[in-house]
Symmetry: none
């Protein structure tokens, strides 16, 4: 069975009824399993995680756009997380029995259909990108919804599908294919945002840090803390434990303790096992030594 994961990010983290309606619509689609939903009021953003075969996921993404575009008006949307669209990002992720090329093909098919159905500019990103300048989500999203009309006048930013004008309330959307991503945040015992920003700069790729880390410093005013908010885009090459240790060491430089960390949404089992192997200095540990993994292996 070909198993693909799909993790749409929606620009609504406060009105739970909007996400409830999207979830209900997705759950009526055969062949798709909704695995997780999480919302963040400060980010004003929700992340849905679903898995299934290509055809079911295509239908689920279509109904998600129908619900979200009817309910979300980005002109009135405020939140800490940067966003370009009402449905901001839709990545397809190969999990089992399916290649990255299959996910790229699915992203292009869904992108073309969404653009036509809603007259919405669609950009393809990561492995589905049509040019190196469009691989990184941040580059596509730079300027956000508010800067989109101006950005689209630049021929270099003509969308891959759809019109060269923003959708009036839904902006644009970014669809693509990528490796599993781990959303990993570390909370620090300080309210000094500058410290979180400096640590984020130290660990992220764009400013000299780890190859597969994206990071921002954000304030958590409700809790009197700051957070290093990260996306780990290839946990095999840049493992979670190495990034965590680096954040902890940088925090110590400012005399600041790590209060806790969090993983938002799902994480592949292998990322957790690799962390345990590191923490315990395990030598020669094989994935099949995990009882549940061994049970899933073919005879």
């Amino acid at each position: 069975m070909a198993l693909i994961e799909c993790v749409p990010n929606v620009s609504e983290g406060r009105r739970s009824e909007v996400i409830d309606a999207a979830v209900a619509a997705i759950e009526r689609v055969p062949g798709v399993r909704l695995l997780d939903r999480s919302s963040d009021a400060a980010h004003n953003r929700a992340v849905l995680t679903m898995a299934g075969e290509a055809a079911g996921l295509r239908d689920a993404v279509l109904v998600l756009f129908d619900v979200a575009l009817a309910a979300i008006d980005l002109r009135a949307h405020r939140g800490e997380h940067p966003r370009l669209g009402a449905v901001d990002v839709v990545p397809f992720i190969p999990i089992e029995g399916v290649t990255m090329a299959d996910c790229v093909a699915l992203a292009r098919e869904v992108g073309a259909e969404i653009a036509a159905r809603h007259r919405l500019p669609v950009f393809l990103y990561e492995e589905a990108a049509t040019s190196p300048a469009r691989r990184n989500l941040e580059d596509i999203r730079r300027g956000e919804f508010e800067g989109l009309a101006a950005k689209l006048t630049d021929p270099a930013w003509a969308p891959d599908f759809g019109p060269s004008q923003p959708h009036p309330t839904a902006g644009a959307t970014v669809i693509g294919a990528r490796m599993p991503l781990i959303a990993f945040n570390v909370n620090l015992a300080t309210d000094q945002l500058a410290i979180a920003k400096q640590i984020a700069a130290a660990v992220r790729h764009s400013s000299g840090g780890f190859r597969f880390v994206k990071a921002l410093g954000v304030a958590l005013p409700d809790r009197g803390m700051v957070q290093v908010s990260m996306n780990l885009t290839n946990y095999e090459k840049t493992p979670v434990f190495r990034v965590f240790d680096a954040v902890k060491r940088e925090a110590a430089r400012y005399g600041v303790a790590v209060v806790e960390s969090e993983i938002v949404g799902l994480v592949p089992a292998r990322a957790m096992v690799a962390t345990a192997e590191y923490a315990l200095q395990l030598a020669d540990f094989k994935p099949g030594q995990v009882l549940e993994t061994r049970l899933r292996e073919p005879l």
Copy 2:
């Protein structure tokens, strides 16, 4: 689905054809999956690991006794590991969708059947024990096969099932139910056996350490190292990471570094995930956040 693990220990670690025959017989039983087999010539002992539902495991244990009792004569058996029977110990272990009480009931059913079928004394141990004096395997096994006839004349050691005389070639057997056990060893950068022994004494329950740790210091002369060799008998209450940290701190007291650790055989996924949660200071992490676990959960 009710998933139970069963880990029979057989007193044969040199004649691989005997274990091959047992494995072949088990693999013909429907509803049981053989997950692992390992033999140790010095111990003259083999450990089989299988998993399945209660009915399949019952049948698999019955065929294992048929093969082992036909092939093994303890009167001629020599090895470093203490043993009381040709099939020495048979624990049933709850993994998923099944309680400890279910495993106790299965141990009693299988024990009664084995005793009747082979006229073999059977002791119930750990969670299936009929008195506190019979909980610990070591107490039941003390005196080994050679001292069994004398031990059985003591009314306090009347078997739970079967006759009060040893089986002439197969001795007796110990059947029960317990939590998953993790065989966890830590190798130290020294050849001083006394250091491994002192650390083992510091962390094991019997001499004042953690409640669910059994530990020995052993030499690894081939590698010029010593090892703290442990069984962790309840990883939920005495987690692997806490024991590892304690061993590391005790080693530092002697100026000795930890070279590596190893897990022998299988480990439940939850033990690895709990270690990762600890190492990353993860707050509010839920088992269902592991993608593969979430996919197995019922809707």
